[in-house]
Symmetry: C2
């Protein structure tokens, strides 16, 4: 990252014990990854039932109070919903005078500001705002997994008050569980996610809302909706309350991203009305080039690799290739049929854990496939 912040030091030893406050999907996933790395975890959740369900995974010792959970922890991770983060961070800092406290909220500027309002400056040096960039469409401790944080980019957004040594300690934990810590100023983080995370959500939700409104007058409109429409509106089915919280907490950045997006849409609208064919074609050509560059980039989840393989279009073809991968002892993290299997051959993208890519490539090649590594 080119944040201007120094990258965290790599020489700091990882913690022996951490606490997780808020044991939903992300908190319990962090706990599972910590337990796997031999780190003790205590846990607390405002909802004792959630806490008990997290404890059932065997990765943490549940505590009945926040104070008890943080008592002996070197690092405390606050993984509550956004509206509860600042006050939980403040409580953790107050309850544990030596611990470093971090959080996992997907916006950072507002969190840092809210915390600084309610916490003494002397304690702020121990607060390291963070955003582990992993997740799942599902929620709750039952769906937690260490793989949620495997190989992810873990953004740390220290404020001017944050002590560098505190950043190093959180980074040492992230590295110990297999994530990639990186630093970014809080405002910069929020600006970037406004474009690549929050704006896509806005674009998808608005498209779905618009077509739903049109449907009232044109009940058959969705008969004409094909795969492209489904791709664009998939995000609209995400957890609405979670997303409303995120959008509102990053309101100004998202509003600015919407402004730039709207300006582009209006530019294209005017070129269409003026029948400016060269401008329109150029816009589509440039966007295609950009998307192809994106496809060629490694996936964000740095822990995975993607192989492209051609398969024949016939019953059993997918079975054979997945059987071959299974034989190699490799778990398929994701599988996508890239071209619909029309015209005799299909192309699949297989996502596997990074360290498994050589095994997967070898076993595929030995069975006559010709895998191409994309990322």
């Amino acid at each position: 990252m080119t944040s201007g912040n120094p990258e965290p030091a790599e020489s700091v030893a990882p913690p022996v014990r951490i606490a997780v406050l808020g044991t939903g999907l992300i908190g319990t996933s962090i706990a599972l990854a910590a337990a796997r790395a031999g780190i003790d975890v205590t846990g607390w959740d405002a909802d004792p039932d959630v806490s008990a369900r997290a404890a059932a995974t065997g990765c943490l010792t549940p505590m009945s109070t926040l104070a008890a959970a943080v008592a002996d922890a070197e690092i405390v991770f606050v993984c509550t919903p956004i509206p509860a983060v600042a006050r939980t961070v403040a409580e953790a800092l107050a309850s544990s005078p030596d611990a470093v406290v971090s959080d996992a909220a997907s916006i950072k500027g507002r969190i840092a500001a809210d915390v600084s309002e309610i916490v003494a400056t002397s304690d702020l040096r121990r607060f390291v705002p963070g955003h582990p960039m992993g997740g799942s469409e599902r929620s709750g401790p039952e769906h937690a997994s260490a793989s949620v944080v495997d190989g992810i980019v873990w953004v740390l957004t220290p404020t001017p008050a944050t002590e560098p040594a505190a950043v190093d300690r959180v980074a040492s934990f992230a590295r110990a569980i297999g994530a990639k810590p990186t630093t970014l100023a809080p405002e910069r983080h929020d600006r970037l996610v406004a474009f690549v995370s929050h704006l896509p959500q806005v674009a998808s939700t608005s498209l779905m809302g618009l077509v739903a409104t049109e449907e009232a007058d044109e009940p058959d409109i969705l008969l004409l909706a094909a795969g492209g429409f489904r791709d664009l509106t998939r995000l609209a089915a995400s957890n609405p309350d979670l997303w409303a919280d995120i959008m509102l907490a990053n309101g100004e950045q998202v509003a600015e991203a919407i402004d730039l997006y709207v300006a582009r849409l209006i530019w294209l609208r005017d070129r269409l009305r003026e029948d400016r064919s060269e401008d329109v074609a150029l816009l589509f050509r440039e966007a295609k080039q950009a998307r192809l560059r994106l496809a060629a980039k490694p996936q964000v989840r740095a822990g995975v690799a993607v192989l492209q393989v051609e398969i024949p279009d016939e019953p059993g073809a997918l079975a054979r290739i997945t059987a071959v991968i299974g034989e190699g002892g490799v778990n398929i993290e994701d599988l996508q049929i890239v071209h619909s299997p029309e015209g005799g051959r299909g192309t699949v993208h297989l996502t596997v854990a990074g360290p498994a890519v050589d095994d997967a490539t070898e076993v595929l090649a030995s069975h006559g496939y010709d895998p191409i590594r994309l990322a």
Copy 2:
């Protein structure tokens, strides 16, 4: 459809011979489906090489001139790129005094208008503008397949000049090859596809273009881009010249759809700036409900069925389920891992041909899976 047009009569016999002008992916796919149904096909393409490659599929007799191709055809399908459609339709009508002529362009108002300008009214009664709603990301006769048109909605958009008997003849062909003919006024077709096909393309292209521009200042922005961003920008990689032609030919309808989309984006932007949390949450909730209704609807490609199946998250799990399906002799048309396989179980959506869904369900159930039919 509630177009006000009468649905085409079902009693008309399918043609014995058709001609396809423009033997790219869609033209050759129509020819393959026709040949499968026992219908003779002659073909012509402005590019003799494309014509020869189409002939190599064995489904059509290539002709060296347009006039020769249409000579004995009862129905002529014009499947050229949009800029060539009107004049090719005019030539076909002039060359074959009895044939019905249809086309496959994805916009209809402009085509109908252009044709009516260059064709005598007496010939216009034999022109049936059409839009078979199938396709593939690929192009060229090599990638053609009868499955491109299997079970699709084939929209026919007769003009006031079109004779109902001509519509019935094209509809009889569509039914004969396994598609579902339906009628819609040209303007109405164009308005609906502007929302569900052209606007998604605009939204995706504009988002990709915006982030590519931001990337110039923020080279790390794509490190923070996850699956949602990839979903939203996948369409941006489509054929840019094809899409520019479509957008320009449907310019005013697309411009109006953009206006409505922009109005929604601005509404949300203002609510974010005003911190109107209830309005924002309601918007996200309503869009989620609409998207869930869409997911519950049958897919557009009416010939397919989708089964949802839970599988364990372990090496070989995907291999086992695909092997079971293969054993049942069923071809998997598409497979999507819906939830990333985090947390012990994964959910896959299997798309199979409609008639194969009972076989697929039965063989899955007999192996202990619990498939749920979604569509």
